[in-house]
Amino acid sequence: MSGYRWLRAGLVLVALAAVSACATKVERLDESKAVDLSGGWNDTDSRLVSQEMIQDSLSRPWLQEFRGRSGQSRPAVIVGEVRNLSHEHINTNTFTLDLERALINSGKVDFVATKDERKGIRDERKDQDLNARQDTRNAMGKELGADFMLTGTINTIVDPNGNEQLLFYQVNMTLISLSDNRKVWVGQKDIRKLVTRSKMRF
């Protein structure tokens, strides 16, 4: 009889183990910790790019030059298109937003809403014209024109060979003066990776 009891206890243990193995497991990660799963573009790459771009853009002389030339204290910048010319579908918003935030928070630069955002805001203003109280209305035609436009590209070179792949990403960001098409700042970040694929799986 005691053998039977042992068997039952054992079965319960096995069942418990099986159930706990099935539960979804979530592990919170420190956002600065690099985790590479597939070898493709991921958050670490995006973060490396924004760090480099932010440091570089704030330490370059274009800001002082602008102040000296125009007499204005802060240049207004608009984010243009960052074109993905790489071999992967990459979301470029992540590092442009990082860069935008860092520049705004530095207090040295103003950002102007993008094309799509502007449309929504204009609609809202139109709505205010009709429905808002006189003293709280915001009039049309008082928008801040941008002095610079931020554009960029992501390029890749891939060299595949059997189970190995050499990936080279180059992210370029350019600030172009809207008044005279001058490029006042070019930031660049290169990332190289060697991805070795597993030869075996279960």
Binding site: P160, M200, R201
Partner: protein, 448 residues
């Protein structure tokens, strides 16, 4: 009657019954009838619903995604199709590594136990249709990503395969890639891609029966002129006997419609098997290998007309021929594996029958059971991306900017009109609009 005799007496009727039962055992291609029937009835949404009801086993995941992605596309749901096909690519990537477990199963059970990753041409087609999805949704840069990926895929493939393999290049991929680069204004990349397409069409003419598309001839001359490669342009002009063609500058003053017909369905794999009792041992031996059945269709070309202008499609890819040639090149290996498997299974059955010397009738029954299990599990791997088109046709039609009612007539080989429709389309200067259509015959051969 001794016990031994009884077992021997049981053996033949039992074997006969099992042979009859085998016909009921389903391979992959048997499970897709209702999907095919709905496609023949021109109801892609019903086909998708029928297909989504199938519960794929884990080894068929990639195949399931490929077919779902294509059926979503046929139903007009491009965004869902894009998502599904992107997932397909990731799954294929995950399955690149060799699985010893699956290798062992394929040697002992059958080839269909291996995870399906698709043939080279099927993997290339995932990128091609993703590119088309993006183009039709107006996402040119995303289509360019697919163009780069297909280039990497084909480069890897060339490292692996022999030079004389007829499918060393995918001519349509190269052509489509060229169109994407040209749309991006990247002339040198477009020129290189068109040139690769030109070489591929020349090389593959004999194997796949697809000649140089009429539009590609003009594209080559236009791009060579644009790049200022005078001698190459002259060579093309002489080879194709074309004097006049639209210059790149003139083309950019106009809009352009790029129209693609995905005609028919790719061939399906069926099982071809030999099941025979071995008179010497009384055991049954079975060898099953796949073979392609082409699915003929009547589509020959489409005629586009808008105002006074018109354009005719030319065939740019013969998926059917590529699929069949691919299987041809592999069938020797597949057959060798099937025979080795039959031998291994038979040896196992013999060992089981002679096990346990004291109880011979039990051993005989065990031997019979092992033999039958081996026979039952011997199925050909008939998995293939059956919703791919049989062939692909393409037309390019430059038009001055404006609003158009585009008339599309589909013609059969005997000039019969198979169908026609009208599309309202507006073109801006320099804009390229991509349109595609799937055409599936109503008399599609569906297995009962």
């Amino acid at each position: 009657m001794s016990a031994d005799g009884a077992a021997a007496g049981l053996r033949w009727p039992c074997a006969a019954a099992c042979l009859a039962a085998l016909a009921g055992c389903a391979t992959f291609s048997d499970t897709i009838q209702s999907t095919e029937r709905s496609l023949a009835q021109q109801q892609p949404k019903a086909a998708l619903a029928a297909y989504e009801k199938l519960k794929p086993n884990p080894a068929d995941r990639v195949l399931y995604l490929m077919n779902t992605g294509m059926l979503e596309r046929m139903s007009g749901d491009y965004d869902a199709s894009t998502q599904t096909l992107e997932q397909t690519k990731r799954q294929i990537e995950d399955l690149r590594a060799l699985s010893l477990r699956e290798q062992a199963l394929s040697v002992t059970v059958n080839d269909a136990t291996k995870s399906f990753v698709g043939e080279d041409y099927e993997r290339v087609m995932v990128n091609n249709f993703l590119a088309l999805n993006y183009l039709e949704r107006g996402q040119l840069d995303a289509a360019r990503v697919e163009a780069l990926q297909v280039d990497i895929l084909l480069r890897e493939k060339q490292q692996r395969t022999a030079k004389n393999n007829p499918y060393a290049e995918d001519a349509f991929s190269r052509y489509l890639t060229g169109i994407i680069y040209e749309d991006e204004g990247e002339w040198s990349d477009a020129m290189i891609a068109y040139r690769k397409a030109y070489e591929a069409y020349n090389r593959q003419l004999k194997s796949f029966g697809v000649g140089m598309p009429e539009t590609l001839k003009h594209d080559l001359i236009r791009l060579a002129d644009r790049m200022g490669i005078a001698d190459e342009a002259k060579r093309y002009r002489e080879e194709f006997k074309i004097d006049q063609t639209l210059s790149e500058a003139d083309l950019l003053e106009r809009g352009e419609i790029i129209f693609i017909v995905n005609a028919g369905l790719a061939p399906v794999k069926r099982e071809r098997s030999v099941t025979a009792p071995n008179p010497a041992t009384g055991r049954i031996i079975r060898v099953a290998v796949p073979e392609y059945r082409p699915r003929a269709h009547a589509f020959a070309y489409a005629l586009l007309s808008a105002d006074a202008a018109s354009a005719k499609t030319s065939r740019v890819e013969n998926v059917e021929a590529i699929a069949m040639k691919t299987l041809d090149s592999e069938i020797a290996g597949i057959t060798a594996r099937a025979i080795a498997r039959a031998v291994a299974k038979d040896t196992l059955a013999a060992a089981a029958a002679s096990s346990g010397s004291n109880n011979s009738s039990g051993a005989a029954l065990l031997g019979l059971a092992v033999n039958l299990a081996g026979v039952f599990t011997e199925r050909a791997d008939t998995r293939s991306w059956f919703t791919l088109p049989g062939d692909i046709h393409l037309a390019r039609m430059p038009l001055p900017p404006g609003e158009y009612k585009l008339k599309i007539d589909l013609h059969g080989a005997d000039e019969r009109v198979l169908g026609s429709r009208e599309v309202k389309i507006s073109l801006r200067k320099g804009e390229k609009k991509y349109l595609s259509q799937h055409w599936i015959p109503t008399n599609l051969e569906v297995r009962p």
